[in-house]
């Protein structure tokens, strides 16, 4: 039970979540509670509704019933606050193929609170700084994923929502994602992730099996 929702503890919880797609019930009465520094894993086979659950969490889909709470308050009542506290790394990277990496990230900076991290150092960490002048369409799928990771690092938000973050990444890339998530959690961030493979991380992990 997540009690004592003091103003300082960041927390995300969901209760009695039920979701339909068309006539089909994807899941029923799912619940979870996530505190600062914890990783939430949604597990399940393909088509079990992991992606849909995450989309509904950020408000892209509507739950049939149930409520998502951010810091003890339903997200429906504080949409802007909630959206200002998260980045959503979707299956599609959501960046413009015609624009360069820098142009893309520069645009993103007008949408969300930005961290103090310097763009160059972030690109350096992700090992994509040499790709700076290229339009995104000339990058490989794995490199585009890394640009999406750069968007996450540049945003100053506590909640990371990642849908299958390991797709298109090699072993090294996967290790990088895990390292970044761990650092984020250590700083008091939260992360919810849908993954169909095992995730090995040295942090508190909560699992929801769909």
């Amino acid at each position: 039970m997540a009690t004592g929702s003091g103003a300082l503890t960041t927390q995300l919880s969901g209760r009695d979540l039920t979701l339909f797609r068309g006539d089909r019930c994807l899941f029923q009465d799912v619940g979870f509670a996530l505190q600062a520094g914890e990783l939430l894993l949604f597990e399940g086979s393909n088509g079990s509704g992991k992606t849909s659950l995450m989309k509904a969490m950020v408000g892209l889909l509507e739950f049939e019933s149930g409520v998502i709470e951010w810091n003890g308050k339903p997200v429906g009542e504080q949409r802007q606050v909630f959206h200002g506290s998260l980045v959503w790394m979707a299956h599609r990277v959501g960046l413009k193929a015609d624009l360069t990496l820098v142009e893309n990230l520069h645009f993103e900076s007008a949408l969300r609170p930005q961290s103090a991290d310097d763009l160059d150092s972030v690109l350096e960490r992700l090992d994509i700084s040499r790709l700076k002048p290229l339009p995104l369409r000339s990058l490989s799928a794995g490199q585009q994923r890394r640009v999406a990771l750069a968007r996450m690092l540049l945003a100053d938000v506590p909640l990371w929502l990642m849908d299958e973050p390991f797709t298109n990444l090699d072993r090294e890339g996967r290790a990088l994602v895990m390292r970044l998530v761990k650092e984020h959690l250590a700083k008091g961030g939260l992360c919810a992730m849908a993954a169909h493979q095992d995730v090995e991380i040295d942090a508190t992990v909560k699992k929801v099996v769909l």
């Binding site: 960041t10 950020v58 408000g59 892209l60 889909l61 509507e62 802007q80 606050v81 959206h83 200002g84 506290s85 998260l86 959503w88 979707a90 299956h91 599609r92 990277v93 959501g94 960046l95 413009k96 193929a97 015609d98 624009l99 142009e103 645009f107 993103e108 900076s109 007008a110 949408l111 969300r112 609170p113 930005q114 961290s115 339009p135 100053d156 938000v157 506590p158 700083k187 008091g188 961030g189």
Partner: protein
């Protein structure tokens, strides 16, 4: 988080950022801007070929032809308004951003108007002169087209948002938008006709301006709602 959370960037900043990004994209793909213009010029060429080149007929039908051609060209340009954002997932990113969606929709629509409506307004005098339109009427034509294409962009953004991601999108978009755009066409074309007949036309211009203001204050909300629905 250990450090206090930074503020969300200002709403207007995000509006301008969206507009700037779309203009940049248009700059990198000039074909998307030019195609509707060529279409406009071609439709205007078809009419004299079909109804005959006599000067009398051209001055008489000029305002109507130019307006219908402009309407159709706007319609062609509309299809791409949200399509690429929908396909590459950046629409989703806009939907989950902390910025008010109607404002982002205004930003996108403004960029769309600058790359489709404004070029039409700028090209229209050239076509109008070939239709033997006197200079004073050309000014009225450009004025009405400016106000009218703004309204069409705003109305069109609703239709584009409703049909984005549908398979039969293009034909459906015309079916939805043409009835909506009829008042603009009626007022716009007839105002130019009145001006060509040396009659008072100011009422039409005011009506178009009022329509544009009304569209600007209502359409973004409808567009935002439609985008959320279409992206489900």
């Amino acid at each position: 988080m250990s450090a206090p959370q930074r503020d969300v960037p200002g709403m207007l900043d995000s509006l301008f950022a969206v507009a700037r990004r779309d203009l940049l994209l248009a700059w990198k793909r000039p074909g998307d801007v030019l195609n509707p213009l060529f279409f406009f010029a071609m439709v205007c060429t078809l009419f004299p070929l079909a109804v005959g080149p006599s000067a009398e007929q051209l001055t008489f039908s000029g305002p109507g032809v130019l307006w219908v051609a402009a309407l159709l060209a706007m319609l062609i340009a509309l299809n791409s308004l949200f399509l690429s954002d929908f396909d590459d997932g950046s629409l989703e990113q806009l939907l989950v951003s902390p910025q008010p969606l109607p404002l982002l929709a205004i930003g996108k629509t403004a960029a769309h108007w600058l790359t489709s409506g404004l070029p039409l307004v700028l090209v229209s005098p050239i076509v109008a002169i070939t239709y033997r339109m006197p200079g004073s009427v050309v000014v009225v034509l450009m004025l009405t087209l400016t106000l009218g294409t703004m309204s069409l962009s705003l109305l069109g953004s609703i239709g584009a948002a409703l049909t984005v991601g549908l398979h039969r999108g293009t034909a459906l978009l015309s079916l939805l938008i043409l009835p909506l755009s009829m008042p603009v066409l009626i007022i716009g074309a007839n105002t130019v006709s009145l001006a060509a007949g040396n009659e008072t036309y100011s009422a039409g211009v005011w009506a178009l301006a009022a329509y544009a203001v009304g569209a600007l204050s209502l359409a973004p909300f409808a567009t935002a709602a439609a985008l959320r629905i279409s992206n489900e």
